[in-house]
Amino acid sequence: MSLRQAGRKAKVMMMIIVMGLLLSGCFIKSLYPFYTKKDIVYDTRIIGTWLDNDSSKWVIKQLIRWPIKPDSAYQVEIVDKDGKPGSFSAHLFRLNNQLYFDFYPNGKIGSNDLIDASIVLSHSLAKITYTGTHIKMQWFNEVWFEQLLNQNKIRIKNEKVEGGYLLTASTAELQKFIIKYGNDPQAFKTDWGKNQKDKDQEALTFDLKKISNEAN
């Protein structure tokens, strides 16, 4: 095997590993956004710096798209307690009188262009309870969703991917599903069990406290 071939193989391997990491999170991921333009809510009070229950810092500011144009969305920069950064664009939207955040990874993820071009980025959904100085984020319950899929009790377009499922249903279908089952006690669970998966899910229930109105 030539050096060039070995390099190419390493790149592909790297791409697979990054894709796996991206997709193996404990979120329900969707190919299509969970919102439409008409559902978007923009609230300036969200803008600021927040601290979650895991001591991670969330800097939320208005998303500016290129060429410079303010969007009715937020740019969310997260720095965890170990200093690892993450960046998302987030859309706050309302469905059936309930607020949700649609998170979408920002920018490049891989170590090179080939990897970036090969990665399918996905949307994640969190139910929001906003009280001015507090934001409670409950992520869509993947454990429950997986169980239903395995038991053949839920019918929504999806693909099995490494580490979980990727929803491939259209936005219209996703919204119908959220409207109908968004209030199901299992869909956005708060009372978690003792097994590891449940603990993982519980860890993803964030309670954000505003520490500054400045987003920097």
């Binding site: 239903l148 053949n152 009790k153 839920i154 019918r155 929504i156 377009k157 999806n158 693909e159 219209a172 279908e173 119908k176 599903f177 109908k180 089952y181």
Partner: protein, 352 residues
């Protein structure tokens, strides 16, 4: 195992409907399947989807078509059909949005299609089922018509046989009476008359049973008959037969003119004591035949009682009506001295 015949499928309504829904189920199951592999949930969803479609389809098949469309209330049918189609689409959405949670708790379905898409599904179902039903009805009507035509044909043939059957004994009866008279007077003509009668009877029994016969043979038989009658008549009677035109390759209904010739001799020649006549003209054209027979009027034959008078004439009229409907003319000229019948038959060559 006995194979199911097409006819059995055609006549078995339950089987037809089962087949229709099974085919639809097979197709839609593959359309609805989310992944390459059809999941158990897809089987359930496809059944439920069909259940809502069935409501619209059967309202149309069992109520709208028989109660409205069959009475030719087209506009009312279209309006009610549109309401049923829209209602079925709405029901489908309501079913998967709300009702399903009561019917199958623990299952998570939504209405996966928008109203417009469901509407298309309902239209396809209703249209397909309606077309199948209308096609079946058309076949049924066609079959009934065919049976009706066959029955009519059988009835006509039966009536024709009955009419032809009236001629034979009628003619035989008169001829035997004549032979009886000759035998009583020990006439030398008796064997010759019997022989001629035999020839005529051979034609009537063996050849006249067909629907159509050669015109040439028919005329030959008529000539024999006239010759037979001449032997029975005295020399004062004037009997003229004129035949013009080509008799070849023409067909005619058998023994159709016989009763008229028979009547002419019976009422004309035989019934008078003075000068009597019978004039017969046959004019054969390319496509038509004209037959004219005229005789003087005499004393009614005593052998035939009043109940049987006019049987021959009416017989000819009925047979012409049945065999040559709208293709013939029949005219009687009845004066104090003479009796004349004129018949014209068109499109004779078509009967080959």
């Amino acid at each position: 195992m006995k194979p199911i015949s097409i006819e059995k499928v055609y006549k078995n309504r339950v089987l037809q409907h089962t087949l229709f829904w099974l085919i639809s189920y097979y197709i839609l199951l593959r359309v609805f399947a989310n992944a390459d592999k059809i999941q158990q949930i897809d089987y359930i969803y496809t059944i439920l989807f069909h259940t809502t479609m069935m409501i619209g389809v059967y309202i149309n098949l069992l109520i709208l078509i028989p109660k409205i469309l069959s009475k030719r209330k087209f506009i009312f049918y279209i309006v009610t059909l549109l309401i049923v189609i829209a209602g079925t689409a709405g029901l489908n959405i309501l079913f998967f949005d709300k009702l399903i949670d009561f019917i199958l708790p623990g299952y998570y379905f939504i209405s996966y299609y928008e109203f417009g898409d469901i509407l298309k599904f309902v239209i396809v179902f209703v249209a397909t089922a309606s077309l199948i039903k209308l096609a079946k009805s058309w076949f049924a009507i066609s079959e009934t018509n065919k049976k009706f035509v066959e029955l009519q044909k059988e009835k006509t043939e039966f009536e024709l046989k009955a009419l032809k059957g009236q001629i034979n004994p009628h003619f035989l009866f008169n001829s035997l009476n004549g032979i009886y008279s000759l035998a009583l007077s020990r006439s030398e003509k008796t064997p010759e008359i019997v022989l001629m009668l035999s020839d005529i009877m051979r034609y009537i029994i063996y050849e006249a049973s067909a629907n159509f016969v050669d015109l040439k043979k028919e005329v030959k038989c008529l000539q024999d008959y006239i010759a037979l009658q001449k032997l029975r008549s005295d020399d004062r009677a004037s009997i003229t037969v004129e035949i013009s035109g080509d008799l070849k390759n023409k067909k005619i209904a058998p023994i159709i003119f016989f009763p008229l010739v028979e009547n002419s001799f019976k009422h004309g020649i035989k019934g008078v004591t003075g000068k009597s006549f019978v004039t017969l003209q046959f004019t054969v054209g390319e496509n038509n035949i004209a037959f004219i027979i005229e005789n003087n009027k005499g004393i009614t034959d005593n052998v035939e009682n009043n109940a049987y008078k006019g049987i021959g004439l009416e017989n000819v009229r009925q047979r012409l009506q049945m065999i040559y409907p709208n293709k013939h003319q029949f005219k009687i000229t009845d004066t104090a001295e003479t009796f004349k019948v004129e018949i014209a038959i068109n499109q004779v060559a078509d009967e080959n």
